[in-house]
Symmetry: C2
Subunit: 240 residues, 2 copies
DNA sequence: TGGATATTAGAGTATATACTCTAGGGCCAG
DNA sequence: CTGGCCCTAGAGTATATACTCTAATATCCA
């Protein structure tokens, strides 16, 4: 592995572990037992390192969201969610300070905006494929409210899934008291249930059971961490 | 207004406008035409200022989410969403660096975790009230998939609404190219549609129309900003 | 081999910024 | 008055940190 690659990789690891704000370029250099000058020979700024990490992240997620050349199964949907959560986890520092990075680098802001757009398009296509496979349906059903067109519905659904998935970790951080104080990929994956819940009303009866069965393999939010005490122990104590 | 109050208020304004990272305590002091020493006489650290802003924010949102002593109307639901978005907007700098603030201040982390828990409880109660009013229903419907209990459904729904609402702004920042480059409360409010969309499948037929009518008053995401070109111009070109 | 090019070292710097310290002014109770 | 106390000024500091500069060393190719 070249020095340049080592710098990138180790930066990512340290940023994820300790937070980018706390890791100086000198830290990274020291950790790799190279000199600051050396680091700056390969990357002209800390910003440049972060930018390159972003491009890796985007490439990874683009890759994950590719559509196969066949109909989609329920398992496929789980694989999508699973791998996207993996990606988010591997680059988790990015989402902790996203606003700041976009604010500091106009080029990044533009490209990241395009990336978001691409992801939403893909998500919408995936949803359409699942509809085509008979797993989801957006046809108005008897007794159900249907004031929105199916197309709008799918676009909105895609966006909401994206919002939940990409912000699941920040929610965990702000609500959970994890044992040991550190989040793990296991906690992260509990977000799959949240994402599924959004589409649940659109799952056809024929596939409902399979979805539920596959979902059971993933850790549940309330089981995985302490949470707020009320979140865990509460049992349908709703006021009515 | 006392000097202490002026410091807090102006800090909030500057943090929101320019970003907390870019506003030093010296900036705040200079802006108020007071000395740094004076500022530190009232607040022993920048952290302390931020902490106090947090408590104001939490008090405000707690206030917004109070349950009235009567049945809830559709209008009430819109009022909830509307005012929470107002709150998020007024304290928007908090959500830009949330992770960092919680990381830097354990006391804040604990209290914010409790705050999140409270909000989710309130949201769940509101949802239950709306169900009681006949606006929402979680009864299994013919032809619909129903593998989850109504109680779990409501809790999950509350959390998803919370996720979408609290992260709507960060999505806007990362996707929209706003005219003039600055986000406004108007952009923010377009998130109401997103939040509503999550509960849409549970709206009873009797109230669907009223919900749609009231929603029409709020700006739509695609109309309010340029967005990614594809987001705007695309017209149901889904692949099937 | 020898010269050019790529890489590395590491001390050093410029700047930002949160915060301190001392001194003094205004105000009010006694 | 006057002594004490809340408030304010403002110069100053300690520290962090992104980045530079020069010189030395490795590597590669003719």
């Amino acid at each position: 592995m070249t020095t340049k690659e080592r710098i990138l990789l180790r930066s990512l690891e340290l940023f994820n572990e300790k937070g980018e704000r706390h890791i100086t370029t000198n830290h990274v250099a020291a950790d790799l037992s190279i000199s600051p000058g050396n680091l700056y020979y390969h990357y002209r700024s800390k910003q440049a390192i972060i930018y390159e990490i972003f491009t890796h992240y985007e490439r990874l997620v683009d890759h994950y969201l590719q559509l196969p050349d066949r109909a989609l199964s329920v398992q496929d949907e789980f694989d999508y969610l699973d791998s996207v959560f993996d990606g988010l986890w591997s680059y988790r520092f990015l989402h902790r300070d996203l606003y700041h990075y976009l604010d500091a680098d106009p080029r990044l802001k533009t490209e990241y905006g395009q990336f978001t757009g691409r992801c939403l398009d893909r998500l919408e296509e995936i949803i359409s494929c699942l509809e085509h496979s008979g797993i989801l349906t957006f046809d108005p059903r008897p007794g159900a409210a249907h004031t929105t067109s199916a197309a709008t519905l799918k676009r909105t659904l895609a966006l909401n899934v994206w919002l939940v998935v990409t912000n699941w970790m920040s929610f965990l951080v702000s609500s959970i008291e994890v044992e040991g104080g550190t989040l793990s990929i296991r906690h992260m994956k509990s977000g799959i249930h949240q994402a599924l819940a959004i589409q649940e009303p659109y799952v056809t009866e024929a596939y409902a059971e399979e979805v539920a069965r596959l979902a059971a393999d993933y850790p549940n939010y309330s089981s995985v961490g302490a949470g707020t005490s009320k979140m865990v122990s509460r049992k349908a104590q709703a006021s009515f």
